[in-house]
Subunit: 367 residues, 2 copies
């Protein structure tokens, strides 16, 4: 998704029009779902994809055709017994795709930019019923842009957007036949706060940014707290960690990791961190180091309930020890924390691979 | 490591000298060990790090000083009770660091480039005893470069390098006092073969390259098998996967993933893949899809022992469903496969976090 949005932004800046396919609905299992994007430029350069091999090429052809004709439409791809593609268990149903041409002055170019940005936003798009087809409404924190064609419909869309979880979903307004509206909802990017500008932090910043986090790295050492060392972080602070944390808003979505080994700030930082609502709070270091840390915090009067929140050592047991492997182990634990995963191999488990689509989208789903 | 090597290569190309600190030995727990690197350029730009917070700044100062003076030396940093840094459990011992100035025409610049490259190489460096201090010998597949100062020592080093596992270690030649030699051994980069140029493949290519894999993506669809879609892959092939696989050397280090959902090549590819020695062999898709796949392969006469090698669905159970999350789940399973990790949270386990340093280094440790 991020890759499509980045490409779209690049094409937008270069004023290159492109064809955009947006999945509106799918009854073909969890393979694809609302909000999945595929984009193609006039040279045939494709970004994103509809992760359903049997229809992806057909969607690409349709997106390229829409780029030529400019005619927005809703296409339906039957897969399985009813369609032209081989019937396969787990891949039978209908995929509905909205096809549009996006030009530099098109509202969709701005809605894609908004969905890619750090601020919360919702985009409502008419995909059927008695309203202008493909009409769009961008609902930002401070302003709205566009219209679905009628004030009551816009008001309803704003109410829906405020209530919908992150991700994409279709809602219907009115009765017989009603207007069908696709909602793409992107909340504010959650924060990943990394203390200690180490090699692990550099690797974790890269994966965290790919996961949709706004990554902030903080270290008091001037030589280490540099953008050159942390090229994928959104912010690099040269500051005392506990002071920087005191000036940073923390929410239950926040990921906070202590990756340094610097006793000069460790205890003050942890004491402050443990009073925040950060949802994932982890520290590196050996088990002996952690025992000493806990003893220190206990002596300072930190309650056991707070201490129990610390994940130590951070990460899943993957067994690697290089910085990139440690970062991967932490990122994997973060994803498992967000989605309730066990960390065990999927091949050794039974039951559904994913939770229901509408509820398991992470906070930064649309990024 | 990779980041230091990339920075060193960049400085080398721009003919910028830099100070290089290489950990030779450590008795301070698993926090740092032989082969860890820190580099600093004349502007104070630091790359890499000695992941031992208590000494990192001191090592940086020493590297910067060596850059000024040009005098190679071995520095010893006592940590814990005996040293100037605070005593902490799990962080007591001695860290030995080789400090050198590296200029564009310096042999070390070429040895760093060799360690960063895809081919197997070993670098031997004198760190003590009756031989020229910091003398280097690069032992490549087809050629050697440099000398440790004597033919018998060079011959011994070549024998050692052929036997040492990937990673870094110190060996002693001769008796009383003997020559101490640091060996940095990098095998050929293992391969990650990704079939299906999907969004999951793009995300996995990025993480796989960071993990030290040589990543190859293959898809028969011209619009999808493009470098633009797979910017982090080392090779992108537009070919029928089973044909491309037939022309590719596969070893027990090889990671092979089927990420597409294209029935046109899936069965021929899996039949071929199951006869290779690939160590990690995984497929995506629902459990129902996999049952149908197994039924097809069984009907084709593929033995159960081969079918049991397939990890399906690929990845650890992290619970996410976005392409980047699926890629992360697969990468985490790959690391756990290489190192014997369980995937369970480290904070819920007991015992050592890492296996012994010398044996747990992955095949691409030095990249």
């Amino acid at each position: 998704m991020r890759e499509v949005l980045a490409a779209a932004h690049d094409w937008h800046l270069r004023r290159i029009p492109f064809g955009l396919a947006t999945v509106v609905a799918s009854s073909a299992g969890s393979i694809t779902g609302p909000g999945d994007l595929l984009a193609v430029d006039p040279t045939g350069d494709v970004r994103g994809g509809i992760p359903a091999g049997c229809v992806e090429s057909a969607v690409l052809d349709a997106a390229a055709e829409t780029l030529r004709t400019g005619r927005a439409r809703l296409a339906r791809y039957p897969v399985g017994d009813d369609g032209p593609w081989p019937a396969r268990p787990g891949c039978a149903g209908i995929i509905e795709v909205l096809l549009r041409r996006v030009t530099a002055d098109h509202l969709t170019a701005r809605s894609l930019a908004a969905l890619a940005g750090p601020d919360p936003v919702a985009v409502a798009t008419v995909v059927g019923g008695p309203a202008p087809f493909a009409a769009e409404l961008i609902l930002g924190r401070d302003r709205t842009e566009g219209t679905l064609g009628a004030a009551d419909l816009d008001g309803w869309a704003a109410d829906q957007a405020a209530e919908l979880p992150a991700g994409a979903a279709v809602r219907r307004y009115g009765h017989r036949p009603g207007v069908r509206v696709l909602f793409q909802v992107a909340p504010a990017a959650p924060q990943m706060l990394l203390f200690g500008a180490t090699a692990v932090a550099a690797a974790l910043a890269r994966i965290g940014a790919d996961l949709g986090y706004r990554v902030v790295v903080c270290d008091p050492r001037p030589a280490f707290a540099t953008v050159a060392r942390m090229p994928d972080a959104h912010e690099v602070h040269r500051a005392w960690p506990h002071r920087m944390l005191a000036a940073t808003p923390v929410t239950p979505d926040t990921v906070l990791c202590l990756l340094g080994h610097d006793p000069r700030y460790e205890i003050p930082l942890l004491r402050a961190a443990l009073t925040t609502p950060a949802g994932y709070l982890a520290v590196l270091g050996s088990r002996a180091t952690h025992e000493a840390r806990l003893a220190h915090l206990r002596a300072d009067g930190v309650p056991e309930a707070q201490l129990a929140r610390l994940r130590a050592p951070a990460g899943l047991d993957l067994g690697g020890r290089r910085p990139v492997e440690t970062a991967l182990a932490i990122a994997a634990e973060v994803v498992a924390w967000r989605h309730g995963g066990t960390g065990r191999p999927l091949s050794g488990l039974t039951g559904p691979i994913h939770a229901a689509r509408s509820s398991d989208l992470p906070a930064a789903a649309a990024r």
